[in-house]
């Protein structure tokens, strides 16, 4: 394993120290792997609904990069690819909760669901209003598991944005949660890996692929995908993925969508831009109107080469939420 680190056992705190120093808008919660907005209004009644997301480390810039006005109030980080324990989540809830309560945005992995869910129960026991929204956007699993058990992947970033803008607009917790849930239901994602990644503590790659092999429908934790196949031109891979997403969501000609081409870490912007050009062209050819599109490393799996496509169905309000300003450093410009 070749990594620019000091000690595999301390990568998470070492990283968070760097991130907090690099971003003036971020602060670390003492004793926990939690990044907070440093500009949270001190008065609890001024905070509005606080948003918290998180999960294992290794998905950077997620989730700390989405902490900022208009997106998250805090990001909770576990060990690499491991959901945080309940203590860290509970500490984050206590740190950011104001009078209007807290929304937890959770990717649909058992560990995240259980730990955030347990922390939410404990916080409610302390009198804090907490709602939990689970994102399960991975359509790769559509033939394998029922809809509620799909994984949460890159579409989560778009859900953060929608919910963050709704919270910044001053909506109450129930309304922010409703918009987040609707956004989560409106987005489908599917990924392709060209290789594996190495968790620092494990020291070796989670799987290996042959010279010409790719893995369709992989997760964002180095876990294997749903189908191994042969490398094809970008146009063919994009076609397969879009077909799966669009048919799953029954997106038809004339509908308006946002497209996210998310790099998994090891794929350069050149390839992501080529994939994006291809995806936009294919969506247009199907008569789907691509109102917004981004490409970049938004929710990664360490240095894994590959990408995912996310397509989110839009209405006027959701488009407005995506366009709303945010100071979160990792939210992409343009669109």
């Amino acid at each position: 394993m070749k990594k620019l680190i000091n000690d595999p056992r301390s990568v998470v705190p070492d990283m968070l120290e760097g991130l907090a120093t690099l971003h003036p808008g971020h602060a670390l919660l003492e004793g926990e792997n939690v990044v907070l907005r440093s500009d949270l209004p001190p008065l609890p009644e001024r905070r509005g609904v606080a948003l918290i997301s998180g999960g294992g480390a290794g998905h950077e810039p997620a989730h700390a990069g989405y902490v900022g006005a208009g997106m998250l109030s805090a990001a909770v980080t576990g060990e690499v690819f491991t959901s945080p324990g309940t203590d860290a989540v509970l500490a984050a809830i206590r740190a950011v909760a104001g009078a209007d309560g807290v929304l937890l945005i959770v990717k649909n992995y058992t560990g995240d669901r259980l730990n955030f869910g347990l922390a939410a129960e404990l916080a409610r026991g302390e009198g804090i209003a907490v709602e939990l929204v689970v994102v399960a956007d991975d359509v790769a699993l559509r033939d394998t598991v029922e809809a509620g058990r799909r994984r949460g992947v890159a579409g989560t970033v778009l859900v953060h944005k929608v919910a963050g803008a709704a919270a910044a607009a001053g909506l109450p917790l129930a309304e922010v949660a409703r918009e987040a849930r609707e956004a989560a239901a409106a987005v489908g994602t599917m990924g392709v890996a060209l290789g594996a990644c190495t968790v620092p503590a494990a020291g070796r790659a989670g799987f290996t692929l042959g010279e010409d092999e790719i893995e369709l429908g992989l997760g964002i934790h180095g876990e294997r995908g749903v189908r191994r196949t042969t490398l094809e031109p970008a146009a063919a891979i994009v076609g397969t993925i879009l077909e799966t997403i669009l048919s799953d969501a029954a997106i038809a000609a004339g509908e308006q969508v946002a497209l996210l081409v998310n790099g998994l870490g090891g794929t350069p912007p050149m390839e992501l831009a080529i994939v994006a050009a291809e995806a936009i062209a294919q969506l247009r050819a199907r008569g789907v109107h691509v109102a917004r599109a981004w490409s970049g490393n938004l929710l990664t799996a360490l240095e894994m080469p590959g990408c995912s496509l996310s397509v989110m169905r839009l209405d006027a309000l959701r488009l407005q939420r995506l366009d709303a300003p945010t100071s979160a450093p990792a939210w992409p410009r343009g669109g």
Partner: protein, 213 residues
């Protein structure tokens, strides 16, 4: 041989559980690398190290407190699915203990209430290739051994868990990160089931050691 363990003895038994879990880090890592994401060993080490530290600092007032201490530390510090699952097992199981010493009836209640809570919390059913596939047979065997006293009951539970681990090889994961593997998860035992078995075996060994005194 004591067919009842007081809080101090239960603390010693659970310290043994912690030690065994920490010792088995690499084995659990390898098991999770085969069917999951490889973090189970390190997570269990983190959680049971926290539990050991709490236990060592504890002056136990009741058996329930000892179980709850372990569950709370594991839940708070482990992370991952298994932190919540094993944390829930010990915390929910603790409520079965009341103020009693640990005897056969209490141990059975611990397993059955823990199992029920884990199933409720995680939504997994037997056969889904989880620790439930070691815990459920263990609880069943414990019920069958109800009349045989604590030591025999723990031995029966540990044996059943071991068979559950073996049986989990033939299961297709439908929960947790291993679920995407589908049929590719066949042939490998479930890492959380192995953890469950190690914990019961550690308890069995502790009780067996007690008997030799």
């Amino acid at each position: 041989m004591a067919d009842e363990l007081d809080a101090v003895a239960v603390r010693a038994m659970l310290l043994q559980v912690c030690t065994r879990m920490i010792e088995n880090t690499d084995r659990l890592t390898e098991a999770d690398q085969a069917v999951g994401d490889g973090d189970h060993g390190i997570g269990m080490r983190r959680g049971f190290t926290a539990a050991r530290d709490k236990l060592e600092a504890l002056e136990p007032a009741s058996v329930a407190e000892v179980f709850k201490t372990v569950g709370t530390a594991v839940m708070a510090q482990t992370g991952g699915a298994s932190g919540a699952v094993f944390g829930t097992l010990y915390r929910a199981g603790a409520t079965a203990c009341g103020d009693h010493a640990l005897d056969a009836a209490t141990f059975l209640a611990f397993l059955e209430q823990g199992l029920a809570a884990v199933q409720k919390r995680g939504g997994a059913v037997p056969g889904a290739k989880t620790m439930i596939d070691a815990l459920a047979p263990a609880a069943e065997a414990a019920r069958a051994a109800q009349a045989d006293g604590l030591a025999a009951m723990i031995r029966a539970a540990a044996d059943a868990a071991q068979q559950g681990v073996q049986a989990s090889r033939d299961m297709i994961a439908t929960t947790g990160k291993a679920r995407t593997l589908g049929e590719r998860s066949l042939g490998h035992p479930d890492p959380g089931a192995i953890s469950m078995q190690i914990q019961l075996a550690a308890m069995q060994d502790y009780v067996a050691g007690q008997r030799e005194d």
